[in-house]
Amino acid sequence: MDQILELSDVSVAFNTRQVVQDINITLDNGQIAALIGPSGCGKTTLLRVVAGIIPRKIPATFRGSVSVLGKGIDDLKIGDLDMVFQEGSILQWRDAVSNVRLPLELNANGLSKKSPEELLRVTGLADFTHSFPRELSGGMKQRVNLASALITGPKLLLMDEPFANLDSLTKESMWQLVGKLIEEGFIKAALLVTHSIEEAVVLADTVHIMSSQPGTIVESMKVSLQRPRIDKNGLFIGGFGDVANEIRYVIRHGGLR
């Protein structure tokens, strides 16, 4: 299975308001794609379409087709894809390890090849296995969130502005963590929604730049920088700024230079 995700001519409208229009995205195994654009351009809507939340849980007019792992949305099972939300979705009454284990308690019998403890170790929380969310910082909570989204070994990871609420230094260390998770094969393929150009350039192989009202993809740009894109000293590697500026130009002017 090489192609993980295919969106063809996807359009979504809430009542009469067209949110996204004629979106075409493909994502291959091993690839990370980022959706970037102004608020209200429908990037989170697209992510929810892939997750099946729209139009199953949130009513909307939907056209086009979505296939994940060659299957329709209704045929997806736990473990096919998982989603990382913004801060605040882990459960207050469960400690870190039991938060990570939660998806396995649902209907994932025998699905995971990873243990919750191992994922906590990989995400740098080995010493906080039995800490409760109130004892963890914002960044640590998002590490728990990531670990819990990876416990079922999803073939596609959806990330909805996962680090938007973190301070910029914490954010950068989270980027390094996600980079490591990609490198070590914990994250197999991912679709990332972000506001941050840097985040897109650090993590993505392809950056889809969107414009709003209605949301369309104005440009899809390959990022061919080598990985990891933050070096051992915590600095962006050479050429990083140029790529970021190209993206910035497209966002500002609606097209390539």
């Binding site: 997750a51 939340i53 849980k57 099972k77 736990i78 605040g88 979705s89 459960l91 649902l106 994932a108």
Partner: protein, 248 residues
């Protein structure tokens, strides 16, 4: 912990001494306000009688409270499972809650007699409502993110309930119970005032009709203390039982 007691204790001591002194100095009649020492004397003299009546009131209050937990939890579960029922249950519940039960009590006594049953019903009418609405608010308190996370995992409705809605609702349930419990003794006594020959309400009626105002105040004192104690007991036990879900 110990320090928390000192200020209230001191406050009440000063209040009691102040009342005693004030009522003595200004020579205020027992019929207007009995002196604390007289109230205490009356309490000691009538202790056995007050206690046996307290037991009856407490029984009515606690049975009514237990039944209203069952009723309140049951109703909120009913319209969680069948959302369409909300539009049936909630308006009816609001109507029942707002019926002046003082006015309908005589009907209850005619149809159900003068035993504990009508008082238990009055207690239920007063206390099921906060339990029901608070628990329902708790079930709805989960964030959209959390709901969507469970959807992505293809969790069943039962799993969503067991793993997310139920634990999230516990702080709300505890609040509902606390609101409810603070009114049960008063509701039972009001029921007794309207028609009975037993219970603290009867003690109050009797002492008024016989102009035994120190006894009246003793009964009021016991009522207040028992009501506070019930709230306190509920508070400490729920904090212990539900500790894990109450921290935020």
């Amino acid at each position: 912990m110990k320090k928390n007691w000192i200020v209230p204790l001191l406050t009440f001591s000063i209040l009691i001494i102040g009342f005693e002194a004030g009522l003595t100095i200004f020579g205020i009649s027992t019929f207007i306000f009995p002196k604390p020492s007289l109230i205490l004397k009356s309490l000691v003299e009538n202790w056995v009688w007050i206690l046996s009546n307290l037991k009856i009131t407490l029984f009515e209050a606690l049975v009514g409270f237990s039944l209203s937990i069952i009723l309140g939890v049951g109703l909120s579960l009913a319209y969680l499972i069948f959302p369409k029922l909300e539009q049936v249950i909630v308006p009816v519940a609001i109507a029942i809650r707002n019926v002046p039960f003082v006015a309908i009590a005589p009907i209850l006594f005619i149809t159900l007699g003068y035993g504990p049953l009508p008082k238990i019903i009055i207690v239920m009418v007063v206390s099921f409502f906060p339990i029901m609405v608070n628990l329902a608010a708790g079930f709805n308190s989960i964030s959209q993110q959390q709901r969507e996370r469970f959807y992505v995992w293809r969790a069943t409705k039962w799993q969503l309930f067991k793993k997310l809605q139920l634990p999230s609702s516990i702080p709300y349930l505890v609040t509902g119970l606390e609101i409810a419990v603070s009114n049960i003794i008063i509701a039972a006594i009001v029921g007794e005032l309207l028609g009975t020959t037993k219970g603290l309400g009867f003690v109050i009626i009797m002492s008024v009709s016989q102009y035994k105002f120190p006894l009246l105040m003793a009964a009021v004192l016991i009522t207040t203390i028992v009501s506070i104690m019930l709230t306190w007991i509920l508070n400490t036990t729920t904090k212990k039982i539900f500790k894990r879900w109450l921290v935020t």
